[in-house]
Amino acid sequence: MILDRVLEGRQVVVCAGAGGVGKTTVAAALGSQLAARGGRVLVLTIDPARRLAGALGLPDHGDDAHEVDLPQNGEAADGRLHAAMLDAQLTFDRLVREEAPSEAAAERILANPIYRQVSSAVAGAHEYMAMERLYELHSSGRYDVIVLDTPPSRNALDFLEAPGRLTRFVEGRALRFLLRPGMRAGRLGFSMVERIAGVTFLRDLSELAAGFEGMYDGFARRAADVSALLASERTTFLLVTVPQVEPLAEADFFWRALRERELPFGGMIVNKVHPGYVEGAPSARTRLRAKAKRALRDAGVPAPTAARAAENLVHYQALADRDRENIVALERRIGSGPIVEVPLLDHDVHDLEGVAAVGRHLFDQAGG
């Protein structure tokens, strides 16, 4: 319910958060629910776990969109869920082909050894290629909503600053100095880089710079467009976390970063919340063990079993109490921002059935 309101009219839903919190699962669950409501939905995943990728019908290679066979897709005949995986290398190659002034120029860049290094799986490449792919898919007009799973950044800012970095990367004012070694600043920079990296590296870099000449405007325009899209009302950011201290601290950090950049925050999704077993304040827990043990004995459970089960209840309830405490603290920190909880399910989520269960929990909540 709360998510229906948050997602109303959005064309881009960005799921962000620390690694291991279930971002891909949540993105897939959002996508399947939105499709069940009758839209053309695409989930763009970044480096999904193989099992989950398989469940979404994604092949090992390539970045084409594939339709997902939803378990109960009968309700809305026109709703369709597609999934695609980001391939940073393919995206960058396409971008170069599109923006290069000629085919020969594109081929020169694609064959450059430094380009191969920059565009493959090195830190940062995933972030800005996720943005580029989002831009590409959004401008295709094929989807009503794109749900974007984000790379597990070591730093949330890497992701938010990706379009700017892409622009700076190809903006090339400094690059042009490299191309004119006659200039004083150019000569100095040239000799410095040469001393550190060696002459072949420098030659490759100069050739790459020459290749990018004439492409700056195209790159900059796309980066500006995607930044504008993310900042607009067409987009919402959902922060996915689990109710433990470290991932919550990262979610907090991301939330502040969104505010500082005036990007549209939709809500927090707290995944894998340990369910509670007894009511009342945690202060009343001291007698829980004895009480449970007595009740189990009364129900005919043998004493050793009752003792173990009572001990386990105390442990499980402690996990639930701690999660509750962390979520209450989160509510205090982020104020009115909606928080949606997904309970820890008894079995790991790695198939469409599990994804559907998470989806039901996401949308069944009135929200806090």
């Binding site: 430094i114 700076r168 410095m192 990296a197 002459v199 369910p275 077993y277 129900a299 996990l319």
Partner: protein
């Protein structure tokens, strides 16, 4: 040490560091992304930062700031501070640093190698980036040795790659939890590490639920229909039984493990709690 995000890699790295120190090896624990998890784990009043800081008897910690490691490396190369300062202000150089995105990883690994060579520590435990990122991290020196075909970067990258390739000096340890997706990612990483020829030591399974119930318990608890505390305890027991059964299945996919560490119900992962995990790692 690497592993999927969220499996407790930093905690296990800290536990391994404590175990190593407990055996009398002078141990250094290194985190690479300036996240300052170690300063929180070891209750440090201030961030550890880019200083070798004692955190536990026999154990030092360091949080590598790649920017500082890069500056330090360049200062060592250029020697004259004035030249080096001009270099940092130079935009061409700035472009070079941006165009070589693995450079930060390279200088981080270089710093680790340099610390080992300094001889103050017998063992360095590196809390590396998560798998995916982590294997890219290990590959950076090789890639650099390839693209910078000559010059100082080439030589340095080659020396770091040689250290990482050497099974006598380096051991890659993967941490996982016994769950479907982390175990799947671990198996993929094992395949990749073997393919690339990195010295894989094995897997540590973390957060393993102890099997406290037997089949008899399950039957006795299944019959409980009472309300209140008895049904709550039975429900919690059923949840645990389901989880331990799933975990057992997942553990089979990665066994034999170097170690299996128990799930900790403690309210806070403090030094004594991590030390109990460390005790389980002393045989490694």
């Amino acid at each position: 040490m690497s592993g999927k995000g969220g499996v407790g890699k930093s905690t296990v790295a800290a536990a391994l560091g404590m175990a190593s120190a407990g055996l009398g090896r002078r141990t250094l624990l290194v985190e690479v992304a300036s996240q300052e998890r170690m300063s929180r784990l070891f209750d440090q009043r201030d961030p550890i930062g880019y200083h070798v800081t004692p955190v536990y008897p026999g154990l030092d910690a360091l949080s590598v700031d790649p920017q500082k490691a890069l500056e330090e490396y360049l200062l060592g190369q250029v020697k004259v501070r004035a030249v080096y300062e001009r270099m940092f202000e130079n935009r061409v150089f700035g472009y070079f640093a941006a165009a070589a995105p693995g450079l930060r990883e390279l200088v981080t690994l270089g710093k680790i190698r340099q610390l080992l060579q300094a001889g103050r520590h017998d063992v360095v435990v590196v809390d590396a980036p998560a798998t995916g990122h982590g294997l890219g991290f290990l590959n950076v020196p090789r890639t650099f040795a390839r693209i910078a075909r000559t010059g100082p970067v080439h030589g340095r990258a080659k020396a770091i790659a040689a250290l990482l390739d050497d099974a006598q000096r380096t051991a890659v340890v993967l941490v996982t939890t016994p769950e479907e997706l982390p175990v799947g990612e671990t198996l993929e990483a094992i395949e990749e590490l073997r393919g690339e020829g990195f010295p894989l030591a094995g897997v540590i399974a973390n957060a393993v639920f102890e099997d406290i119930f037997d089949a008899g318990d399950a039957d006795a608890l299944a019959a409980v229909e009472a309300r209140g505390a008895a049904s709550a305890a039975a429900a919690a027991a059923r949840s645990r039984l389901a989880r331990t059964a799933d975990q057992r299945e997942q553990l089979e996919r990665v066994r034999p493990c170097l170690a299996e560490l128990p799930f900790l119900f403690e309210a806070r992962l403090d030094v004594p709690a991590v030390a109990t995990l460390g005790e389980r790692l002393e045989g490694l």
